[in-house]
Symmetry: C2
Subunit: 336 residues, 2 copies
């Protein structure tokens, strides 16, 4: 019966246990599955980025589907990514870096060698660092309502209490208070006190989020070099680098790749790199399924988040009383 470790814990396959008031306790998965159609939001095919790797050693297809952040969250890099995909710029390039518990990164392995580097398509813009965060004044009502709506479930936060003022390195650090929350289907950290515009927010580096590789500041990256998170959320990257989307299907084709043995997980030889067959915007991919996500503004999502924060599936004996925002993945599914 050992197999049952998390047969019950991770999904919710079995009959629900009874609460004291005799109502069944639904699991997170059951809550999402039972959500009314109106609580699901369609993802526009124009907001999908579809990366096909070359087939694996057994000839099996490897497709990775990425959802790009839609308006009002999409920043300048996403326009660049659309241009790169339209130019079929990534075709024939490769996965160049797999660092355990950190990131998988892809793009032009020869980008550092001017003689070999693939030329970028025309029209890419240089996006300023200010776009690492989003000005909440654009959507103040939305932010206020979300803070009220979900904060009670989410335990991750940063506060000035966590800065050691006795350290010589910390004298210059600003007082900040940050709360994590979902807005419009995405995980964000919201600055509620600090030097940045109060109410600004930035996407959170949860598992599967996709970001833009860059050089040292003031370089912000073009979008040609992308990475996805395959480990514990590296929150130190928040507000320091651009996040542009998340993997919604096929992340296992990236996360299970052999780790690179060079510095920072870069592959040391060309033979180790997995080739990218093509990268296209969803509207250019024939037969692509439609996808939808559980609206984070819905009552169903609130119930789902609560169930993730306080697990009462039969496996659990002590609910946690809170969850990190990255332990509340937004449900995404194919439209039936």
């Amino acid at each position: 019966m050992q197999k049952s470790f998390l047969l019950v814990a991770a999904l919710l396959l079995t009959a629900p246990v009874q609460a004291e008031d005799a109502k069944p306790v639904p699991s997170p998965g059951e809550i999402a599955a039972a959500a009314p159609k109106a609580d699901w939001t369609a993802i526009a095919p124009a907001d999908l980025l579809v990366m096909d790797l070359t087939p694996d050693a057994k000839g099996r297809a490897r497709r990775v589907v990425i959802q790009l952040m839609p308006a009002p969250f999409s920043q300048g890099w996403i326009g660049n990514i659309r241009k790169l995909a339209a130019a079929q710029w990534w075709d024939g390039l490769s996965i160049n870096r797999v660092q355990d518990n950190y990131v998988v990164q892809w793009g032009d392995a020869d980008a550092e060698d001017k003689a070999k580097a693939r030329a970028l398509p025309p029209g890419l813009v240089a996006v300023p660092e200010s776009e690492y965060v989003i000005n909440g004044e654009q959507t103040p009502q939305l932010v206020r309502e979300q803070l009220k709506f979900l904060s009670r479930f989410i335990r991750a936060e940063m506060s000035p209490d966590h800065i050691d003022r006795g350290s010589p390195w910390n004298k210059e650090l600003p007082d900040r208070k940050v709360d994590d929350n979902f807005i419009g289907g995405w995980p964000f950290s919201l600055e509620t006190r600090g030097p940045m515009q109060p109410g600004t927010f930035a996407p959170v580096h949860c598992y599967g989020m996709v970001g833009v590789g860059r050089d040292l500041s003031p370089n912000t990256g073009t979008g040609a070099e992308l990475y996805t998170v395959i480990g514990h959320a590296p929150r130190h990257l928040d507000r320091n680098i651009a996040l542009v989307g998340r993997v919604i299907e096929g992340i296992e084709h990236l996360s299970s790749l052999p780790r690179g043995t060079g510095a920072l997980g870069f592959y040391e030889t060309a033979e180790e790199r997995t080739r990218i067959a093509s990268v296209r915007i969803g509207t250019a991919v024939a037969g692509l399924p439609s996808y939808e996500y559980l609206s984070t503004e819905s009552a169903s999502f609130a119930a789902y988040a609560d169930a993730r924060a306080n697990r009462r599936d039969p496996f659990f004996i002590r609910p946690a009383g809170g969850a990190d925002i990255c332990n509340i993945p937004v449900p995404v599914r194919r439209v039936k």
Copy 2:
């Protein structure tokens, strides 16, 4: 130059930048590397569990080294694990489950089939659920000092403010407040308010931590079925299941395995399973290197934790002002 994303960010290879007072700002890696020998604590070979998988497709060895929790933290399961290793019980068994962003699990794939299951060695004890947590009264001074020592850097916490009392499911939930901290080299969550003995603490499910698979309560598992975390810390498992150690070397041999396609990431066929050649306690392994970890009670660790919480390497433009305990991995190295 794209390769430099995190060439600077993740390690600390380059010349440190200058703070306002002209002192160089050391990186987390530099701080650990510069720690005096006295700040490192030797890991006893008797506290190592060495798992050799069969060689990979290219004939390369795959060794996973696990550090078992030493006294005073080791609970009854660790005695069972020692007996299982001494009996060479795992030899010839397999990795049976790889669930993306969650766990890798190994043991007897036939455990559910009484006709085929491998018999357990004699003398295993049934450990009670009370041992999922450690009674802080055993080491009260240690706990008090650690709370003061490191709390300022660590932002993860749970509090009763995160429980929605309006939910019908939450009426019975207790008020709890939990703080995360390191004690004796390990990540723990400490209950500072709640129904459990104040001052009790439980290990945290960070990436690479090793735990004991179990059936439904009151079953607590024997230690024969083990798992390690390969994703964002599943904190909902804390206090609900036994943690017994952590992978200190070779986790890439587990985390890069193909994901299982059955429910919960179990492999569906025997052919997909990776075979375990042997599992031994470190004292029984010829030529095993010696390992040591950076003492979490040392000034070096405090400086390291602060640097992880407030990155000032040249790559970063905005330090976070705090870090999740699982983003402060305890440095472990081979003794030179």
